[in-house]
């Protein structure tokens, strides 16, 4: 739980979060502009692909799942655990764009009856959503594991992908929260304590992912299957060695720094590590998808070097632009931090400990 200073009262929480809906300043519009530019690049590439065909992308036999599928798996991973900061539950009337908020608030008044149904429903939604994260990523991983391609055909894939998804989602939350906290002055609500907890979750899931890497290599060697061995040798020392080692260093080694409390509570340090983890997790999907296909040992004659073209990278840029544009529009137009949930962890105002009147 947050350690609130005396200034953080219910009223302070409402005002601070409602302020994110006001004028966000230049930095915000700069970021939004960058996101829209990336999206425009993606749309142009998509139009080219529609007009002239998939040949523009760097597919070559047998690599027909490449950057596009890599981005798909990357974003599915982000989607499920990145909902931490998007819990939008009820909207306080902030005076600004009042009609929209009145409409979306559905006449909420905070009566005991409303809370009774809300809290119960919330509990069950959480109970339903939690196993969903496990099932979605298990099934996504089975898309690969059901094939006989060495590097895909592994029993460890379901837990490996679940841990990877939570890991990358956590890293993405850190990468997004750091600038948002700064841009919208949420320092007193999103504290170093919250970041430390995210860092701990990163350390746990990152270590599970690191263990999965080790396990894959161990089984490839110990299992004695020549094709499996060849595929993993290709992965580490073949033409895509740089992608593999980027993935291993960013995902398995770098986060071990999070054992140190000094680094866990250093926001800048965490931000840098989270960016590396995002890069590493993108490359993990790239390595699993592209490198496994390119290194298929039963098709030696196919000579598959896959070189992504501008069309691949353009679509990838577009996917990032699409995500960041909606994210930025969302945080500006809706209270992205749940007002109620922040208030819930605060000690309530009581006669002995009254809510401080704060200057604003």
């Amino acid at each position: 739980m947050a350690q609130p200073s005396g200034r953080v009262t219910y009223d302070f929480v409402t005002r601070t979060i409602a302020r994110t809906l006001g004028n966000p300043g230049k930095g915000y519009f700069l970021l939004l502009g960058a996101a829209v530019t990336l999206l425009a690049i993606g749309i142009i590439c998509l139009l080219y692909l529609l007009r002239y065909g998939l040949g523009l992308a760097g597919y070559s036999h047998p690599v027909y799942w490449a950057v596009f599928i890599t981005c798909f798996v990357f974003w599915v991973g982000i989607a499920h655990s990145g909902t931490l900061i998007s819990a939008i539950l009820f909207l306080f009337r902030s005076g600004w764009r009042k009609k929209l908020y009145q409409l979306t608030a559905l006449g909420w008044r905070g009566t005991n009856e409303e809370w009774r149904h809300f809290t119960r429903g919330y509990l069950y939604l959480a109970a339903l959503a939690t196993p969903l994260v496990l099932s979605v990523h298990s099934v996504v991983s089975w898309d690969f594991a059901m094939a006989i391609v060495p590097g895909w055909h592994a029993t460890i894939f379901a837990p490996y992908f679940v841990a990877g998804a939570i890991y990358s989602g956590c890293a993405m939350v850190i990468s997004l929260l750091v600038p948002i906290r700064k841009l919208f002055h949420l320092e007193e609500l999103i504290t170093a304590h919250h970041f430390e907890n995210l860092a701990k979750l990163c350390l746990l899931t990152g270590s599970i992912v690191g263990y999965a890497y080790l396990c894959e290599y161990f089984v490839a060697w110990f299992g004695g299957n020549a094709h499996e061995r060849a595929a993993f040798w290709y992965r580490a020392f073949g033409p895509f060695w740089w992608a593999t080692w980027t993935m291993i260093i960013c995902n398995a080694f770098l986060p071990q720094l999070l054992w140190f409390k000094k680094i866990r509570t250093n926001i800048t340090g965490l931000f840098v590590i989270s960016i590396f983890v995002n890069v590493g997790m993108w490359f993990e999907r790239f390595v699993i998808i592209v490198v496994s296909l390119a290194g298929e040992p039963f098709e030696r004659w196919s000579n598959a070097t896959y070189n992504p073209t501008w069309a691949d990278w353009g679509i990838m840029a577009g996917s990032f632009g699409w995500f960041f544009m909606w994210f930025l529009l969302f945080v500006k137009n809706f209270p992205a931090v749940s007002i109620t949930e922040v208030k819930e962890v605060l000690p309530p105002p009581t006669k002995g400990r009254p809510a401080e009147a704060h200057a604003r």
């Binding site: 306080f92 909420w108 109620t340 819930e344 105002p349 002995g352």
Partner: protein, 188 residues
């Protein structure tokens, strides 16, 4: 409250339905949670019925003192979940038997892979019916809400208790609320 109302003039019976007359009673505004709990206890001791308690956050203290029954939303979740699971089973099995793809010696409807669909449908139907359940129950409870006093500060940092009562008892209720620590009281 008036800004939530339609500016239209409705014909007689509709007017009564959508704009029922205000419920007479007393509204107390509290700054402190413990004072609110204290007021509720005193009201309950004085056998006042049908209290409405406003709060900016859900608090166990209020739930405990009100001793409300568990929300029926859980039944919506359960029934939605079971319906979803059944739908998932029906969908997969019906489609398999409607257009059988016979592969040597294997069953046409093979349950293990269908469990995934059944599970996903359980979650989908369960979640949707939970949301509808919250909305329905809150709206059901809110039938009266348009008719009882409210204050926008209750969604920010104040707690409130509305006691429905006649004009004869209003004085006593006001005294009781102020005695428990209400910041202000208002008659409706």
């Amino acid at each position: 409250m008036s800004e939530h109302r339609l500016p239209l003039r409705l014909p007689g019976p509709l007017h009564d339905l959508f704009r029922p007359p205000a419920t007479p009673g007393v509204l107390g505004v509290f700054a402190h949670l413990d004072a609110t709990v204290d007021a509720i206890k005193r009201l309950q001791a004085g056998t006042y019925q049908g209290l409405t308690v406003y709060s900016p956050v859900p608090r166990h203290e209020l739930e405990d003192v009100l001793a409300q029954p568990v929300s029926p939303v859980r039944m919506w979740t359960l029934i939605g979940g079971i319906a979803g699971c059944a739908f998932g089973a029906w969908l997969t099995l019906y489609m398999s038997y409607d257009w059988p793809i016979v592969v040597g010696g294997k069953p046409i409807g093979s349950i293990p892979p269908y469990v995934v669909i059944m599970f996903e449908m359980t979650v989908l139907f369960g979640a949707l019916s939970t949301i509808i359940g919250i909305l329905f129950n809150a709206a059901h409870a809110a039938r009266r809400l348009g008719t009882i006093a409210w204050d926008p500060r209750f969604t920010n940092d104040k707690f409130g208790v509305f006691v429905p009562c006649g004009a004869d008892k209003a004085g006593a209720v006001e005294k009781l609320l102020l005695g428990a620590g209400a910041e202000e009281v208002r008659r409706a």
